[in-house]
Assembly symmetry: C2
């Protein structure tokens, strides 16, 4: 087996690695007892994100335990609305909440921006880069404009993002302006993460699956393309993974439009379709997180099918969505061993 | 313009009609003031479903107002768990609830079944057929086994159907048994509706979009195929529309497996992909319901794009999901006129 330095970056460059690099979305999280212990030392969830010692500690925990090939900065996509003074708060058991944005607020939004709190995030990135093993890729991230906008408009998470979808139909100019502001600020935020030591970044479009094709291109694909262009204008060759969860058929044109180095795939993407997408570049995914909860042969079969279909091309093993709190860490251990000992 | 008798049935036979027949999912519903008035006369929501005079009245209301080409029986997919004695109740503002089913309950499930309450539904179908204009297609319907099972396992609606997905991984045999029981009882229920006067039926798989490809075939496509086979064994040539909401790429094989006469498309299905699906048979859909809320040119543009892409093949105009309570009936009027006066 060839030994790779930051193997995930090599895959983003188009290399085929066997076994593939592996990390898991939300790998620093509630399924780990050590995370729950550190979490208890912070006040609110955002305090945890903004306290570099604690955020560094929880980011490193899954690397120590499982030796993943990538660490992802511990933070949240809603630090951007927080920096835009939308009064973001996380209440236990309620999901995130913030002040719903009005049409009038949008004109004043950019002026409200302050990067003060985000400087703590950059301190975390710097401390992570020096603490991580040299072969471990450090990933930065942010939310995509559409997904962040859905929270800003509704003021909270919604089952089908209807408030944002309707807002966009009824106020197309203001909505476009909101996406522009988010794209610009988020691109700057990613550039800062790369400057602080991130090797690559992932853009999360968690609610990409609720849009028609015209809106998907306008609200998801084009703003992410613009962000990647802005990032690369400052950091040529910057590596980006774009994850449009639930986008299904719409992923056909997503790589071409966004120019992302890798496309994240959720667990509903059929492997035959994933292979088609892989013929144009690296893909990442896509095990159903509930297979990690179920464990045993349910887990093994899921892993094997994915490796068989995608292992022959540029590929990053991941889940199709974040690992859930009820996953047993022993199953994660089994998953990692299954991938690494298979070949 | 050619005058058609039950034009929707002609499209299910493969005919191309211009303008296409039109109906809207949830067309009898809260957006209509006359519905809200009738609704107030029933106690619970299920009382409304089980009272033939009231259910007939609300089914006819949108036909009187808009002259849709099809009326769909007013009922609910959860009358099947209700007939299986799962203690189904609809509480205002809470969504449906029922007793969550256990592994042990599944063995006893079939024995609990009683068609007593469903006979009221058949009375509604008969009264509808005699009350409807002769050219109006009468559609019966039921939920698909997977979607109904998600409610039975969780005991309520869930954002990602995780309880049912996990139950299926952990108890594959019992879960398969549950789907079998639901398929068999639902097929019998559809046959009864056809016998009572329904011209065609639609099978709603509202939560088809959360499954991986192996599970989609096993839990969605195959059980619906089995239902259609059972129905046609008794009623040869019975016409069926299958609507797997959110299934996206998975729709590629859905018609071939299920042998449905038409495939329902939600609003996220790109029209180029819809056209591919239409090359193998009739499709139905797929306007974003929120365009009906927005109205104006947002509505017109959505309608025009769909007609342009799909109007040249076997096609039934519909929304991509149920019409929402906040839709203005005047926008529905505009929608119908736009389709019918276009050609």
């Amino acid at each position: 087996m060839k030994k790779h330095r930051r193997s995930l970056v090599d895959v983003l460059d188009g290399e085929v690695l066997s076994p593939p690099p592996i990390w898991l979305m939300r790998q620093a999280g509630r399924y780990l007892p050590e995370y729950r212990q550190t979490r208890a030392q912070a006040g609110s969830f955002l305090d945890l994100c903004y306290t570099p010692e604690l955020a560094t500690e929880v980011t490193l925990q899954p690397i120590r335990r499982f030796g993943f090939d990538a660490a992802i900065l511990f933070s949240d996509i809603l630090v951007i609305p927080d920096a835009l003074k939308r009064n973001v708060r996380f209440t236990e058991g309620h999901g995130p909440q913030m002040d719903p944005i009005s049409v009038d607020d949008i004109a004043r939004l950019e002026a409200a921006y302050s990067s003060d709190k985000l400087s703590a995030v950059m301190e975390t990135v710097r401390s992570l880069r020096s603490a991580l093993p040299d072969e471990t890729t450090l990933l930065g991230f942010c939310g995509a404009p559409w997904t962040v906008a859905t929270y800003m408009i509704a003021g909270h998470g919604t089952p089908d993002q209807a408030p944002a979808r309707l807002f966009a139909y009824q106020n197309p100019l203001e909505f476009a302006r909101l996406l522009d502001v988010l794209a610009e600020i988020s691109a700057g935020y990613l550039i800062d993460q790369l400057d602080a030591g991130a090797d690559a970044v992932q853009i999360f479009d968690s609610w990409a699956g609720v849009l028609g094709e015209v809106e998907f291109e306008k609200f998801c694909a084009r703003p992410v393309a613009r962000m990647i262009e802005m990032v690369r204008a400052v950091r040529p060759g910057a590596k980006v993974i774009a994850f449009a969860k639930g986008a299904g058929v719409q992923l056909r044109d997503y790589r071409r439009i966004t120019k992302a180095d890798a496309i994240g795939l959720d667990w509903t993407v059929p492997l035959s379709f994933a292979k088609e997408l892989q013929s144009e570049g690296a893909v990442q995914g896509n095990l159903d997180p509930l297979r990690v909860v179920a464990g045993g042969t349910t887990l093994d079969e899921g892993v094997d099918r994915i490796l068989e279909a995608l292992g022959g091309g540029p590929f990053i093993f991941n889940l199709g969505h974040g690992i859930t709190p009820q996953a047993d860490p022993e199953n994660v251990d089994r998953l990692v061993k299954r991938i690494r000992n298979r070949l």
